[in-house]
């Protein structure tokens, strides 16, 4: 049997509670440094760090293969971890490939020298894994392991283009965009990287400084941009903790408490969930109100979409004994719009229908076509919407006097804006037999 060279001793290391690599055998240390890490700093190899974090969370012994990018190539390591009083020990087996490839940094260096002042390398999941050249002093090392979308100031088109590449795995494309930060502006060119077997392994981005007048007239740091990029992530984490802790208290996991305290804990969790939904809605609001907002064109089979939504919300509906009725499997109408956005609108409409309908009723999703437009409607058996409120309901922050039901008053406003951006509309009517019917129209394919 032909085998790789055998290493009987694993490469080991130890990671502290904060994710710092506090001890490492030389090959692991070298890999960490090449990925942009520093001695004693946070482990800079994203796949490995994720496994360490999971070990810390579960406090269990894990054994997994982890893919690590190095230069142009991807390597698979077999790693076993163990947890002991906050520390995670790493035992890396199957290390052969790394020992043989000590000069992979050459690729990124030569690329940097040829194309710009410094370069950043991202893996298939678009997480930052390495840097080369004269990286600006104010570049935050915490960016390692973060997604490209969180690091660079990309607009929607650029984000969509990069995401499309990730999904398709192999699309040669160059992008010129701007990175603004630390007082300097950079143009960059993103080039896809492929392994020897042809698989897409990520991007190398070369940055070069540009003069201020070359910089695109990007919106100044408007409060809304600040919200989506900085404030929203900062809010989600503590809110998540509040929800988790309140639920723990409410479920009496730590021992019995007075029943009214358990109810208060549930109220706290519900209020925090409401805030998380509001944070999400405000992020969307910021996006749809930007003058350069645009949507993609996907081919969407509306019947299939309806069934997906029904499946996703089945448990929520079952909690209220509500039945979601979807179009017949043979009914097929294809619309041309952005799949993600249409899914978002439909989830919003069906969630509302469940929220505002009496228990034990039906929510019906139907599809139809009129001339060159496709329609998908959500019909409930609730109180309906009065004629006077049928326009008001789509206004920003409009709650029609409702409170305490988990809504933010933004969902329908955002949904209608999205529908109109995609060349369609969102309307509501009250049915003769009672209940409201929201209809989303979209261009037919």
């Amino acid at each position: 049997m032909g085998m790789s060279p055998i290493l009987t001793q694993p490469v080991t290391g130890e990671v502290g509670p904060e994710g710092h690599l506090i001890r490492a055998d030389e090959p692991l240390r070298r890999l960490h440094l090449r990925a942009g890490g520093i001695d004693g700093g946070t482990l800079a190899i994203p796949g490995l760090l994720a496994l360490v974090r999971l070990t810390q969370k579960l406090k269990m012994r894990l054994a997994r293969n982890v893919r690590v990018a190095q230069g142009e190539d991807d390597f698979e390591l077999w790693i076993e971890t163990a947890y002991y009083e906050g520390l995670v020990s790493l035992s890396i087996q199957g290390w052969e490939a790394f020992l043989e490839t000590d000069d992979h940094q050459d690729h990124i260096n030569s690329f940097t020298l040829a194309a710009g002042v410094f370069s950043l390398q991202f893996d298939q999941a678009m997480r930052l894994i390495a840097s080369g050249g004269a990286v600006p002093a104010d570049f935050d090392r915490k960016n390692f392991g973060q997604e490209i979308f969180d690091i660079l100031a990309l607009d929607d088109d650029q984000t969509a283009a990069l995401k499309a590449n990730v999904a398709k795995h192999a699309l040669h494309r160059e992008l010129s965009i701007l990175l603004s930060g630390g007082g300097n502006a950079y143009g960059f060119e993103a080039n896809p990287v492929f392994a020897k077997d042809g698989n897409f392994t990520g991007y190398i981005c070369a940055f070069s400084p540009i003069r201020p007048e070359q910089a695109a007239p990007r919106q100044p740091t408007a409060p809304s941009v600040l919200f989506a990029q900085q404030l929203a992530p900062a809010l989600r984490q503590p809110l998540g903790r509040i929800i988790a802790n309140a639920e723990t208290i409410g479920s009496k996991l730590q021992g019995p408490i007075r029943e009214n305290y358990a109810v208060y804990a549930k109220d706290i969790a519900d209020a925090a969930r409401h805030l998380v939904a509001l944070v999400d809605d405000l992020g969307d609001l910021e996006a749809v109100e930007r003058p350069d907002f645009s949507t993609a064109r996907d081919s969407i089979e509306l019947g299939d979409l309806a069934r997906r939504v029904a499946g996703l919300l089945a448990l929520k509906a079952a909690d209220h004994q509500i039945t979601i009725i979807t179009p017949h499997m043979d009914d097929k109408i294809t619309a041309s719009a952005e799949f993600r956005r249409v899914l978002q609108i439909l989830l919003n409409l069906v969630t509302n229908a469940i929220r505002y309908s009496p228990d034990g009723t039906e929510v019906r999703i139907q599809i139809a076509e009129r001339a060159d437009m496709a329609e998908i409607s959500v019909q409930d058996q609730g109180a309906g919407v009065s004629d006077a409120d049928q326009e008001k309901i789509f206004a920003k922050f409009e709650r029609l006097g409702r409170t305490g039901d988990g809504g933010s008053g933004l969902g329908l406003y955002i949904s209608r804006r999205l529908a109109r951006f995609m060349g369609g509309d969102l309307t509501v009517e009250t049915l003769e037999q009672g209940g409201a019917k929201f209809t989303l129209t979209l261009p037919k394919e």
Binding site: M3, I6, M60, A63, R273, L313
Partner: protein, 335 residues
């Protein structure tokens, strides 16, 4: 829970409590009957499948209960109440747990098929041949694979040894929570035993993980032996197939055990298996379930379908599954 008729309560309260309990059940019955009459999947689950998953789940919960609270062994009432509490909490309905149980069911089914159709004894399959391999990692993983495979189905506890760390962690703490609720007090012994159980669990000792480790170390060197379920054995064969097509082990099991042989055929094509070898694998694992219609579809389609198209399709399945398992949990929690 149903009112306890043994306890002395005033008769009218007792009557009302019982009436309310059953009256509320009327709505739930609508949902249950509708789900049975109009299931959302294309293939209706068989009674055997439902019974297998149900008894597996009960066995899993019971084994964890006994591990964290040995004194429960004879307490049928508490064991039953704990099961009911967990059932009503919705946790036992969560897709990752049901998916795990369905994968075990598929594993059992395919294993039986292979044993019936194969002429190669377990002792002649690849894991046994690797026991004295010069690479200690390979020899150790082969030993673990054989031992874990042999333990499968012997006891209730063997099931929780096969859970992924993430799922075991979740399940153990849910069971502990249910026990504490039933006891009405915090029991530090139970918590300590739960921590011990988790700390002792080694992912590396799970059969499918040991198989994956072997595939990692063997790589393309043993492609020929890994390419046949007969020579590789089920665990190793599935692991190699999953690794090469970029899906996870349990996903591969469930795709192969699907009602139709078409998903398995697509996986084989994605792996680039020649037609004759693909047919052999099909007969070994699905031979007893194949219909003439399926064989003709395979016969006409296999050589026309390209590996690239098959790979792209399998990649899509993997993405859909990952989204479903992750997203359905979030929505189910009412986020």
């Amino acid at each position: 829970l149903e009112p306890d008729l043994e306890k002395p309560i005033s008769p009218e309260i007792e009557l009302l409590a019982t009436a309310t309990y059953h009256a509320r059940d009327a709505q739930a019955r609508c949902v249950d009957v509708a789900a049975m009459l109009f299931p959302t999947g294309h293939n209706i689950p068989s009674d055997a499948l439902i019974a297998g998953v149900s008894s597996g789940l009960r066995g899993l919960v019971s084994a964890i209960q006994k591990a964290v609270m040995p004194s429960l062994a004879g307490e049928v009432e508490t064991v039953t109440s704990c099961w009911q509490l967990l059932s009503r909490s919705g946790f036992l309905r969560e897709p990752p747990l049901i998916d795990f149980m369905l994968a075990r069911h598929a594993e059992q089914h395919l294993s039986t098929n292979l044993a019936k159709a194969s002429s190669v004894a377990t002792t002649e399959q690849l894991p046994a041949l690797l026991l004295d391999n010069v690479n200690p990692y390979i020899a150790e993983a082969a030993q673990i694979l054989l031992a874990a495979g042999g333990m499968r189905g012997i006891s209730e506890a063997s099931l929780y040894h096969e859970l992924s760390p993430e799922l075991l962690h979740l399940t153990v703490w849910r069971v502990v929570a249910a026990l504490q609720i039933l006891q009405g007090m915090r029991d530090s012994d139970v918590i300590e035993r739960a921590k011990e159980l988790l700390a002792k669990h080694e992912e590396g000792q799970i059969a499918r993980v040991a198989a994956r480790k072997l595939v990692h170390f063997l790589g393309k060197n043993e492609a020929l032996l890994l390419g046949s379920p007969e020579t590789a054995g089920l665990d190793l064969y599935i692991s190699a197939l999953a690794a090469e097509t970029g899906i996870d082990h349990d996903h591969a099991l469930r795709l192969i055990d699907a009602h139709s042989c078409a998903p398995f055929v697509t996986l084989l094509k994605a792996r680039g298996i020649p037609r004759e070898d693909a047919m052999a694998a099909l007969i070994l694992l699905k031979g007893f379930d194949l219909t003439p219609r399926e064989i003709s579809v395979f016969d006409e389609g296999y050589n026309v379908l390209t590996t690239e198209v098959a790979r792209a399709e399998v990649e899509r399945w993997a993405i859909e599954r990952a989204s479903y398992l992750a997203f359905s949990g979030q929505v189910g929690e009412g986020a």
